[in-house]
């Protein structure tokens, strides 16, 4: 479903992603792990048509994100780390907008919106403005929205960041159910290693722009003789804290997140 072959991304003199290759099979739940600044976000942006690789090839659902942008965009849904909802619209209207943007015909759209909102248990809040939703509700709404157009792949960037255990539990059970019943491929990043351990079929760890490990959570733990995936992760990537540069927009977003829950 996703094939990444020897891709490199350079920004000027900085190499963010350095000759990495990996594959995600159809129907797989795949965790993409790495310390801050490792190149995770850059890789996801290349998979989701937002950046072009400097070198190398990517196939997503048999299309190239750099040249076949629309074909690739139709085949995935994405839930970003920061909310990308329109706060001034209701939950229903946010879904509707997405449906129009993705060209879903009206009758199908209405049925599908109802189905997805019920799936994430937000149907009775459909006429409430998104700005009144808690962080967890917004995340659930974004998942519902990302799945609206029946994508084959769901990208999730830190889907459970900052959420309480009940919400996290619900979110993973939605995703696992979806994966079992419809065979949706799931590609996610997280810092919650125990979730990756529990949920992912396969895992890749990226560090300093290079893939340092790939395999099932069990394989990684055995390789490093670790009891938990987190211990294995630390064994692969070391325990030094990474420098993380914050852009102006990031700083504003973090500030807003502080005051908005």
């Amino acid at each position: 479903m996703i094939d990444v072959t020897h891709i490199t991304k350079k920004f000027g003199t900085i190499t963010a992603v350095d000759d990495i290759s990996f594959s995600v099979g159809t129907g797989e739940i795949f965790a993409f792990l790495g310390p801050n600044g490792a190149g995770k976000t850059t890789t996801i942006k290349m998979l989701t048509t937002l950046l072009k690789p400097t070198q190398g090839g990517i196939r997503v659902n048999n299309a190239d994100p750099a040249s076949d942008q629309d074909a690739v965009r139709r085949s995935f849904g994405i839930v970003f780390q920061d909310p990308s909802l329109d706060d001034e619209l209701t939950a229903y209207e946010n879904m509707e907008f997405h449906g129009v943007l993705y060209g879903i015909p009206r009758v199908m759209r209405r049925a599908r919106i109802e189905e997805m909102l019920k799936f994430v248990e937000l149907w009775d809040r459909r006429d409430d403005l998104a700005k009144h939703f808690s962080g967890g509700m917004k995340r659930r709404l974004e998942i519902a929205r990302g799945l609206l157009h029946h994508p084959r792949i769901l990208f999730l960037d830190e889907p459970t960041l900052g959420l309480d255990p009940q919400t996290r539990n619900h979110i993973w059970s939605y995703i696992q159910n979806l994966n079992k019943s419809e065979g949706i491929t799931v590609f996610f990043t997280t810092h919650y290693m125990e979730e990756a351990d529990r949920v992912a079929h396969r895992v890749a760890i990226i560090d300093h722009g290079k893939i340092v490990a790939q395999g099932s959570p069990q394989e990684l733990k055995v390789n490093k003789n670790a009891a938990t995936l987190e211990d294995a992760f630390l064994a692969y990537t070391g325990t030094d804290i990474r420098a993380d540069s914050v852009s102006g927009a990031e700083a504003m977003r973090q500030h807003r997140r502080m005051w908005r829950r």
């Binding site: 937002l50 950046l51 074909a71 970003f80 920061d82 943007l101 927009a249």
Partner: protein, 227 residues
């Protein structure tokens, strides 16, 4: 929308009644009726630029990502945003027009009113495209006051909105001639009062050409946005 009507209303009342007597004595006629189209132009340019600048909010607070990842071309997104922003800005212009009616201003004919609305829309389109073009290059709001004070204010004040363009010193006249808002306001004024400074054809043509150019520039800059 209602809040932003305060500024045009203030200008109309303060300047109109304030300068009215001197202007009339200097042989200019009714000053309030003169600046009414100018005040409409003010409503349009400010609403349009703000509408374009909204892009920065979307970019910072995430909604832009949703549109960039959708199977929709950057051109379509740009056109959608610009037409939407232009509509809001045009409605603002019409609302200001109603305020001018309240203080006694009357258009010269119904046909004139329709032509005026056309000029309002064209002007709105032009400045929304400009706002989006500017916003595409900005990552946050820190440069915003600079844009307002050094670009938008001069464009408004030197556009023949508040004073006639006859007999002006060469420097000011030259700025007015390269200011797109001058042609917008002149078009609105001409349609509503029958008196054009540049002429109907010049106004329409220049507005249309500059609008198309800015849409092109805006689309190009918008397509270069990386998040």
């Amino acid at each position: 929308m209602i809040g932003s009507l305060g500024q045009p209303l203030l200008f109309l009342v303060a300047l109109g009644f304030g300068f009215g007597p001197i202007y009339a004595r200097a042989g200019g006629g009714n000053y309030i009726f003169f600046i009414a189209p100018g005040v409409i132009g003010m409503g349009i340019i400010f609403t349009a630029i703000f509408g374009g600048i909204e892009l920065i909010w979307d970019r910072q607070f995430g909604f832009l990502k949703e549109t960039l990842v959708a199977p929709v071309s950057r051109l379509e997104i740009m056109m959608g945003r610009t037409l939407g922003g232009a509509t809001v800005s045009c409605i603002q212009g019409i609302l200001v027009f109603f305020i001018t009616l309240a203080i006694g201003f009357r258009p010269v004919s119904m046909a004139g009113l329709l032509v005026a609305v056309l000029f309002m829309f064209l002007t709105s389109l032009l400045f929304t495209a400009l706002g989006t073009a500017i916003a595409s290059r900005m990552e946050d709001m820190t440069a915003f006051p600079i844009i307002i004070n050094f670009v938008i204010m001069p464009l408004f004040f030197l556009s023949g909105s508040l004073f006639p363009l006859q007999g002006l010193p060469k420097g000011i006249l030259w700025i007015a001639k390269i200011d797109p808002l001058s042609y917008g306001v002149d078009g609105i004024r001409g349609a509503l009062t029958g008196v054009y400074h540049f002429g109907f054809a010049a106004d329409a043509l220049i507005l249309a050409v500059v609008a198309v150019i800015l849409l092109g520039v805006g689309t190009y800059l918008f397509s270069q946005i990386e998040i």
